[in-house]
């Protein structure tokens, strides 16, 4: 039976969010969208996704805090991809240290994002 993978996307830039949503829906993923970290956590708890995509800089709760919550509080090993416009080494290292599986700097290629998602879901 064909499984539809569930992905939670947390991104406060509506243009980017809409673009990624269109692209990933075309690839057959079931998407849940959050505009900030707080909404992202609520969606993760409710839908138990197969993968999480999160921006680093967001209102209320940042992407790094989302990663920490998923790994330390929910004790979940759900693959997490982080993206950020800031390519600072500090942030990249922190994201991996907290448990992210992959990091993509912005601007990012949607095709590349799809490949990385499929690789992690295998």
């Amino acid at each position: 039976m064909y499984k539809k993978y569930k992905i939670v996307i947390a991104e406060d830039n509506t243009l980017f969010l809409t673009f990624i949503k269109f692209k990933l829906e075309k690839e057959g993923f079931e998407l849940y969208l959050a505009e900030n970290g707080k909404q992202a956590i609520e969606l993760i708890e409710k839908h138990n996704p197969d993968l999480i995509l999160t921006d680093v800089m967001m209102d209320f709760i940042s992407g790094l805090e989302v990663i920490s919550y998923v790994r330390n509080t929910l004790k979940s090993q759900t693959p997490i991809i982080v993206f950020s416009a800031s390519g600072q080494e500090e942030i990249v290292l922190k994201a991996f240290h907290l448990g992210a599986n992959d990091f993509i700097g912005k601007p990012l290629s949607p095709n590349e994002l799809v490949i990385r998602i499929k690789k992690l879901l295998k």
Binding site: N13, L15, F19, A85, K106, P107, S109
Partner: protein
């Protein structure tokens, strides 16, 4: 009216100074009330415009995404694209709308890369926005507008604006010049550095750093020969060229590099000595030692730093001449070098030096 008359008559029986004060107070109160009214109107207008701008931004974002997501394989792709272009074009007569559209384009370019990003560039051209940017350049009435226009042409990779942009290579505004440099590098890669052939204005340290950073983003290509830039009349171009030589290991022009050790500008000479220090360029050391006493103090200190890495036994005579140099840095350097090329000779100086300061230096070097 009677109240007004009463107010007006109020001051008639009062002393003049009190009357003046009351009249001034009245004027201030009326002015404040007027200003409050004006500010409310301005605030209302600003909020109204902000709401409209937001709606417009969402409208443009939606159309842009639709444009980018039409599949290549879709047989009606051209028709769909044209419909979107027509919808957007209708709004472009107003300057404010164009500003918001270009802002949306910039936002999109900052978020996505790859094919989608090239499609944004393509749309920018199809909407005729290139012409608006070129028009700003032709007007050239304000450095801000010029810099913004060049930035837009850079962001959307508009190659055919090269002629218009190159007119600003020697602009008196540093901000405009910077945008020109980054336009050429972003759009033409390493070949874009040809602007250095025409540049007569200075390049600041910060701009040099940013140029080198931008060049790092370019995919591996053959680097152009920097010989012309090393021989430029503009010392800032020479200094940047030396940095390019160091970064990209461009050592085909050793004669030119050696000649720069005698350049008329001290900053160029210092930069060149640093290059020779880092890369062990043949004959450099000999040229520097032979001309040591004709050089400035800064250069002499720099030469000794070079010798700390590159001195050999053959240089011992020269080093010994400078053991008692009046400059502290040179003295310490000379002793360090002597320690590395002839330790026994160095240790003799423990007994030769009667000065306490010199003895302390020797002890420090001996045990470090």
């Amino acid at each position: 009216m009677s109240i007004l008359n009463q107010l007006l008559n109020f001051t008639e029986d009062t002393p003049i100074i009190i009357a003046i004060i009351w009249k001034l107070v009245s004027i201030f109160i009326i002015s404040i009330l007027l200003l409050i009214g004006i500010l409310k109107i301005v605030r209302f207008n600003m909020r109204f415009n902000e709401k409209n701008d937001k709606k417009l931004q969402i409208f443009y974002e939606k159309l842009l995404i639709e444009y980018l997501l039409i599949e290549k394989e879709n047989p009606e792709k051209i028709i769909e694209h044209q419909k979107i272009i027509d919808k957007i074009s209708k709004t472009l007569k107003r300057k404010r709308y164009r500003k918001i559209l270009i802002k949306t384009f910039h936002k999109t370019k900052g978020q996505i890369a790859g094919d989608a990003s090239s499609n944004v560039d393509e749309l920018f051209v199809k909407l005729g926005l290139t012409e608006y940017s070129k028009r700003k350049l032709r007007k050239n009435n304000n450095w801000v507008n010029t810099a913004v226009a060049i930035r837009d042409l850079k962001t959307f990779n508009i190659k055919d604006a090269e002629k218009e942009v190159s007119k600003f290579i020697n602009s008196k505004s540093e901000e405009v010049r910077q945008e020109v440099f980054f336009y050429f590098i972003a759009v033409f890669g390493f070949d874009g550095l040809s602007f250095l052939d025409k540049l007569t204005e200075p390049i600041t340290l910060w701009t040099r750093i940013r140029i080198l950073e931008s060049l790092k983003k370019i995919e591996l290509q053959e680097f152009p020969d920097p010989k012309n830039w090393l021989e430029s009349e503009n010392e800032y171009v020479v200094i940047l060229a030396l940095e390019l030589v160091a970064t990209y290991n461009l050592f085909d022009n050793l004669e030119v590099l050696t000649a720069l050790l005698s350049h008329k500008n001290e900053k160029v000479r210092l930069k060149c000595i640093e290059l020779f220090k880092e890369f062990y360029i043949p004959n450099g050391k000999e040229v520097l030692i032979n001309s040591f006493y004709q050089r400035t103090l800064k250069e002499q200190v720099c030469i000794f730093k070079l010798l700390e890495d590159q001195a050999t036994k053959e240089d011992e005579k020269f080093i010994l001449k400078n053991i008692n140099n009046s400059n502290f840095e040179i003295k310490v350097s000379a002793l360090k070098i002597l320690n590395s090329i002839n330790r026994s000779k160095f240790l003799e100086f423990k007994f030769i030096f009667s000065n306490q300061e010199n003895t302390k230096i020797i002890q420090h070097i001996e045990y470090s």
